[in-house]
Amino acid sequence: MAYYLMLFAAGFAGSFHCIGMCGGFACALGRDGRGRGATLLRHLLYNTGRLTTYCFLGALAGAFGEVLCTPQGSRVLLLGDSFDVAQRTLAIVAGLLMICMALQFFGHVRVFHRLSVGFAASTFAVALRSLLVAQGRAAPLAFGVFNGFLPCPLVYAFAAEAASSFRPLAGVLTMAAFGLGTFPAMLLMGGVGRILTPMWRQRGVRFAGGCILALGIVTLGRGIAPMAGHAAHAWAGGHPG
């Protein structure tokens, strides 16, 4: 449980990044003319859409991890213990990815800059833009669903963490904890607009970077030094998977 609380905290801290990136969307969705309840519903729908996408990505990542690490004669004997090579490799890759993301939050590394294909990216942007101004009651939900797919370093980092959990359920829970962590700030943005100064957000982003860095190091540790990784894990409350 403590593990998921930590993810929640990381998500909450990370939402300082969200305020910058997606908070604008929350503001743009704005208030509903039909009153306070409708406004709340609008933003709940938007955030539910986002959360669903995160959970889906978590399930996919977890299933991907599981498929990759299903024992198929790849077990090796190491120091008398059996460790899955694939599992460890995945943990190392995920850990490195998370550390890269964390460093990106500190402004040191640039990842995923050349990830885009012109058509895909601009089509996506135009698609989101048209949803942002669409009038239907369900549009915020749809917008949230697509918003969840925006290439966000936070989401990548947590998807990597979900993959290294090797279980779809654990993956879903990882992403859900992260997603719920981003809820308060995003809901707040819907109500009050940009309340935090860039400096405070910058601090929040650093804090999120620190959390992700810590998670990344623990995950990396699980891959490189299984015993130490397990120890760290036990300290963090244990992994359900």
Partner: protein, 722 residues
């Protein structure tokens, strides 16, 4: 790191660090901290466009929300997350899946069902029927399984298949919208409004309601709605779409303006010179819309194949289910059948040709080239032979009168009568005669009952006499008296390569005008470029052999037929068609109209004639002759794209169909590949929009008068009075 003066992300206003991502958005350089912010910035700050596909997107979002939940639980179900102690929750999970899937199937499947139904009542089976039958079967089977607590459920398959097909539909819509973007300025004449100034008030009026004499205000950045004359203001205009002219043209008080051109930087007040529906812009708009609504030959063939394929695929899938039902549990057999239906759906086939064609038409339209017949591009691409008319096409068409031989009358009198007759014609020689008369300060003799005999001459009556002007055969057909001395002098002029027009009245020929016509400076390079594209080049002209030979030698054409009447030109085309199957004919639009109509592809160059009477399938702008090789390139690229699209779509369907029937392909994978196939067709077609500009694709061309380069390049900053 957050020291003052450091760059901030344009979107989230956080420090971008030492290696920011720099992108141009809407013409300004922006720095972003991450790629997500870059997209988010584009979403928020981009130009807001009307987006027809928005409703598909909402549908997709809601469907995505539901089907992602379904997938999520299904993944958990498949990976055994609910096995063991949690096994008793299994029926509840299945019920939950059913509850989630039902709205998803309604929301995502609705449009497919409506389409199937509306076609079915008209007795047609379309590809959406395959999706409806397949998904309907999977959904119905799963609902039954939930009710009876037996067997597995396949809600995930049903919704994901619908989801992926809707994604395919959405991308189609995006592709179509992109294709329409180039055509939008041409089609706007029917939808846009203009600001009419009436006394002191201004009101917005649809362009079609504008009449001659109305005063119209055009703000900077707006399109000029009607032809007219500037009453007030000065500005630069961009006429590229209308004339292919890429230079910005300065306008001030008294300058004529063309409907459809863009007013760039200053407000203009113009007086309309005619109704808004009579402009070339409005004519182009009507003709482009007609062209888009018709289907080319390849697409008609593809449509027929699709129509035949749908019932076949339904039968095949039924057989597959029956076959596998003997060997596998029924639900597995049903899945194999579903995979067959999904994979055989020929969505990409229906998209292959229209998308590529409309993007090609849009690409040409950007440089002022107008395609009136969608099949014309495909035909032009297949053509290996191209025939040219001479006057006004290979030559400037602006002949000069160089000599006047008379017999018994003054040269001025003959010229005045000829001018009175010829001002009713738009033929190149006719204009030269009118100009020559004007240069001498002669008043054209008023002529009535004018009749043009294409390719031969012109006939009318003035001052009680019949007046005629035309070539030798025309005069001898009339049977008018002709002095032998005049004939001899005219023949010597013809031998020198001049065009001779005989002028006569009252049953007798009095004068012979010699006209000389110079070749276009870019003709030789253009002909060479066409020959470099493996095109057989021919000159078919009504002019005499000496002139034709001289011109042909100057521009490098070996195959010449001269002295042809329009009928003989058609016969000439027919002869070439026997060798080359398809022949294109390039002319100036009016006097060779029947021949252009007869050719497989008629191409008119720079015709100032009325577009409505135009018989050519492709119309190049004024002075646009040099673009011809580029037009051929575009046509060939369009045809190649259509063919690769069709080969891909059909080939993919065939291979995947066999895999599916063998039970190797999962339905969801099949649907994903199907959507991927649509994406491939869209992306492949959109490459056409990035074809190089004509000036970039034709190197070594002699400098033309109107290069159609990027419209923003100001090549000539001198304000032209118009």
């Amino acid at each position: 790191m957050s020291a003052a003066g450091e760059n901030l992300c344009s979107h989230c206003f956080l420090a971008v660090g030492r290696r920011p991502m720099r992108v141009m958005v809407n013409g300004q350089s922006c720095a972003f901290c991450c790629y997500g912010c870059c997209i988010a910035f584009q979403v928020k700050s981009g130009k807001s466009e009307e987006w027809d596909a928005a409703w598909i997107l909402i549908r997709l979002g809601i469907g995505g929300f539901l089907s992602m939940n379904i997938m999520l639980f299904s993944i958990l179900l498949y990976t055994g997350a609910f096995s063991g102690a949690d096994a008793n929750v299994l029926p509840r999970i299945e019920l939950l899946l059913c509850i989630l899937a039902t709205p998803a199937v309604v929301i995502l499947g609705g449009p497919f069902l409506v389409e199937t139904w509306s076609n079915a009542i008209r007795g047609r089976l379309t590809s959406s029927a395959l999706i409806v039958v397949g998904v309907g079967a999977a959904y119905a089977y799963s609902v039954l399984a939930v009710v009876e607590h037996s067997g597995r459920v396949y809600f995930d398959t049903a919704t994901m298949v619908l989801m992926l097909f809707t994604v395919g539909r959405y991308l189609e819509a995006v592709g179509r919208a992109r294709a329409a973007r180039d055509l939008e300025p041409l089609l706007a004449a029917e939808s846009e409004c203009a600001t009419v100034v009436d006394g002191g008030t201004e009101r917005r009026v649809p362009i079609r309601e504008i009449d001659a004499g109305m005063r119209v205000r055009v703000r900077p950045g707006e399109r000029i709605p009607v032809d007219g004359v500037v009453l007030d203001g000065a500005s630069w205009t961009d006429e590229a779409v209308m004339t292919g002219e890429s230079r910005h043209i300065g306008k001030n008080v008294g300058s004529p303006v063309i409907a459809g051109s863009i007013n760039l930087d200053g407000p203009l007040l113009i007086r309309s010179s005619g109704p808004g529906t009579a402009t070339r812009w409005a004519q182009i708009c009507r003709s482009v819309r007609d062209a888009l609504s018709r289907r080319g030959a390849t697409q008609r063939l593809a449509d027929r194949v699709v129509a035949a394929a749908v019932p076949l695929v339904l039968a095949l899938s039924l057989l597959t289910v029956l076959y596998w039902a003997h060997r596998l549990p029924f639900d597995r057999a049903l899945l194999v059948g579903l995979a067959v239906l999904v994979v055989a759906c020929p969505c990409a086939v229906g998209l292959a040709a229209p998308l590529a064609t409309s993007i090609g038409i849009g690409r040409l339209a950007r440089c002022g080239c107008l395609v009136r017949e969608p099949g014309a591009l495909e035909a032009l691409a297949r053509t290996r032979s191209i025939a040219f008319d001479k006057t006004g096409t290979l030559t400037s068409g602006e002949a000069r009168v160089v000599n006047i031989e008379t017999e018994g009358v003054e040269a001025d009198e003959a010229l005045a009568r000829a001018a009175g007759l010829e001002r009713h014609s738009e033929h190149g020689l006719a204009r030269a005669i009118s100009l020559a008369a004007a240069a001498r300060g002669l008043e054209p003799v008023v002529t009535r009952e004018v009749r043009i005999v294409p390719g031969r001459g012109i006939l009318g009556s003035a001052e009680g006499h019949q007046v005629a002007a035309g070539n030798g055969p025309f005069i001898s057909d009339l049977g008018w008296a002709l002095e032998p001395r005049l004939i001899a002098r005219a023949r010597s002029q013809e031998a020198a390569g001049h065009s001779v027009v005989y002028i006569g009245w009252g049953g007798r020929v009095y004068a012979a005008l010699s006209l000389d016509d110079s070749t276009l400076p870019e003709a030789r390079a253009t002909i060479d470029a066409l020959r470099g594209r493996q095109l057989n080049v021919t000159l078919l002209t009504g002019d005499i052999a000496a002139v034709a030979k001289r011109i042909a030698a100057a521009i490098g054409i070996d195959d010449v037929e001269a002295g042809l009447s329009p009928e003989a030109k058609r016969a000439g085309l027919e002869r070439r068609r026997r060798f080359h199957k398809m022949v294109a004919m390039v002319g100036d639009g009016l006097n060779d109209g029947p021949v252009l109509a007869e050719a497989d592809v008629g191409i008119a160059v720079g015709s100032a004639t009325d577009l409505a009477r135009e018989t050519a399938a492709i119309v190049l702008p004024n002075n646009g002759f040099w673009m011809l090789p580029w037009v051929v390139d575009v046509a060939r690229a369009v045809r190649k794209t259509i063919l690769t699209n069709l080969i891909w779509a059909f080939g993919y369907n065939t291979i995947a169909l066999s895999l599916a029937a063998l039970g190797v392909l999962q339905p969801i994978l099949a649907a994903a590949a199907m959507a991927g196939s649509s994406v491939l067709v869209v992306v492949n077609s959109l490459r056409l929009a990035r074809l190089p500009d004509p000036s970039a694709s034709l190197t070594g061309r002699s400098a033309p008068e109107t290069p159609c380069q990027v419209a923003s390049a100001v090549l000539d900053p001198v304000i032209e009075p118009g």
